[in-house]
Symmetry: C2
Amino acid sequence: MHYSQLFGKTRKNISAETESTNAKLLIRGGFIEPVAAGIFAWLPLGLRVLRKVENIVREEMVNLGAQEVLLPALHPKEAWEKTGRWKSFDVLYRLKSQSGKEFALGATHEEVITPVVKAFVQSYRDLPVKLFQIQTKFRDELRPKSGLLRGREFGMKDLYSFHRTSDELQAFLPEVTRAYLEIFERCGVSARVATASGGAFSKDHSFEFQVTTPAGEDRILLCSSCDFAENAEIAVVKLGGKCPRCGKKIREEKGIEVGNTFNLGTTFTDIFDLEYETEEGRREKAVMGCFGLGTTRLVGTIVEANYDERGIMWPKTVAPFDVHLVALVPRGGLAGKGAPRPAAQGTRPVSAQGTAGTTGRGRHEEVHAAADALYGELRRAGADVLFDDRENVSAGEKFADADLLGVPLRLVVSEKTLKADSVEWKERGSAEAKLVSRDEIIKAVEGFLRA
Amino acid sequence: MHYSQLFGKTRKNISAETESTNAKLLIRGGFIEPVAAGIFAWLPLGLRVLRKVENIVREEMVNLGAQEVLLPALHPKEAWEKTGRWKSFDVLYRLKSQSGKEFALGATHEEVITPVVKAFVQSYRDLPVKLFQIQTKFRDELRPKSGLLRGREFGMKDLYSFHRTSDELQAFLPEVTRAYLEIFERCGVSARVATASGGAFSKDHSFEFQVTTPAGEDRILLCSSCDFAENAEIAVVKLGGKCPRCGKKIREEKGIEVGNTFNLGTTFTDIFDLEYETEEGRREKAVMGCFGLGTTRLVGTIVEANYDERGIMWPKTVAPFDVHLVALVPRGGLAGKGAPRPAAQGTRPVSAQGTAGTTGRGRHEEVHAAADALYGELRRAGADVLFDDRENVSAGEKFADADLLGVPLRLVVSEKTLKADSVEWKERGSAEAKLVSRDEIIKAVEGFLRA
């Protein structure tokens, strides 16, 4: 992708209302655009990240033996009245058709999935059923905040499982936990499991997957040694107290809840009469679990866990592009436009040295042709490349943009690198820039992407 | 995919309210499940089809130079009041937050995309902009009907383009038309372009892409010779009259509108003040086009255009699977269960001949092992295979299900085919079943999929 053609450029000034790091960086980078409080448009760069996160989630759900479905956002009022949540679910959006029929906007999908599954389950042979979707959820938050962390409209993967027995569900829970931890690790964040309240879903405790970061809304009490953790809302341990598991000291951190698991028992299958015939011919209610994972929130969390003072540092697995290729053409040969801004803080790039003051159409075209050729080779090697081909933008501005956008590997082609028959190589997480020989660059990039 | 494991089986009895062919076949086949009038859940089989359609649409949009975004469904009331459509858009769902803030549910996205684009367009260099999304739309239809053809919640690809001049937009229109016709052809339906009203979008005429079928809601007056066509709502020609283009006779057909193009001029860019600086330094409003294509409606249309009395006949490009592999195991060796239903109408399959009355565990396992092996080989050859591995289901029932599900190629492994060291081959669109030698079957399938 040529950056000059990309819709959604970097911006220096964004609304002063934007407080959270994830929103600031994602809006400045042109990943997302606010439409209203807690409501965002996903621009091309941001959508690339979201799709990568969704695909990781999808792969792990399929590995778990779950099948993908897509449920509607408009839910008949009757289903939510049956469960009592039409009134009790505090963030439910409700609306009325011109025909008078009322709907809830899907805030969660137990009220829809349970009758759908009932239509296909008769016998124990039809169970277990494990269905997931990646779909938009709507919640009437009084105070949407923290960018992608708490919105009115957001993406979620929700998995629902239906089992013969409570034991069967209990045996499935650690499988989901493993899949979730795998998802978070693949997305470059480290989550831990905390006990929490069942909320609007269950009287039992639930389990939350918490990424500890100062940006989190939840207070987590966790052991400084073992993996014991509780949401402070329900915690029986105290800050500074002893871990009930290993006796070490309890500390407190803030956390972002990126996933949860609820054992719903037969609450919903009782209400919707989801019965099956056991092997012995008895009629029993299926036992249900539900497992949420906020996909858009996870994108926000990845940013909160991977940034520095210059911008985002995407993990390779979810980066919008693999390589950010910068062509540094000599300025002055063309009409200058747009004030150059100061170079990014930090190491002075090798490629910027010695280019100041040079001009000339010939060298300009030489750099462009070399960058074009490299762009083509990288793409043929299977790399997704963002190619900053802009004219009349200073080296400093291009480097600052690259740092803000956070693509894992930056390559620079300039007069300087051409002279050395090489390409400048800088990884986003490293302060060091180095020259890699032109002959070896493709192999080096392939190695970097595989690593 | 093993059919025994698939969520969403075929059903003989569905609600008597279901009148349209597409809904009947898709619900009976387990592709979709009704949740409320005009609102469906997409089950795994149906979602596979929808994703294939979406990917074809996505590819053609990218070929057109458009970039993908994802806009929200919750739209601030203020934007819709600005355009006057908060009141005038007759099928708009409106809702109120507990904070008192009002939203429209996205029925179309001019009110959202125009301000988003404005944030990134300053100069003529930033134009044209071509953005599309594949997203859920909500319309408060008084009488949702015809299955996937007119729903309250449905999938749509909407493309919005912003141009420097009206000429630039005019030059883009035939490119979109070509892309649309390519999409419909790839999806196995034949669409023609009809002039129609601008509706809630424009005072000018629009263009509709109409698939003519008796299931259509629109009346189309079209030339029996050339490609002239008009929606009857605005037609100046009359049934039986002369074509203004070629003089031949005008006939009437019913049509399903699967896409449309609107020249919005500067209606929305005036309202949202989407200005740019021309090369000469003047301030001008961008000129806007919008281009809809109903993705879920297209799935319904594909069914309406591709079925027979036994079920759906998916075009290869959008079929949920490439191959429907049936293992016909001798019955009786195992406890029978479930009454066999009569064989599908039509040709008696080669593989069913001579198997009646045979029993025995050994032969049963032999057939299963052979089918398993073929399943593995087909998958390694890159085919998506639905493997009907069910026990205690009659040949007739398996064939009837295969016909209903409509996968393009049915392969059967049975005692009979094993004896002949071959596999039974039947294409969904053909009445002929034939035996293909086991040695040649993979090559034959590869050839079929490439064709």
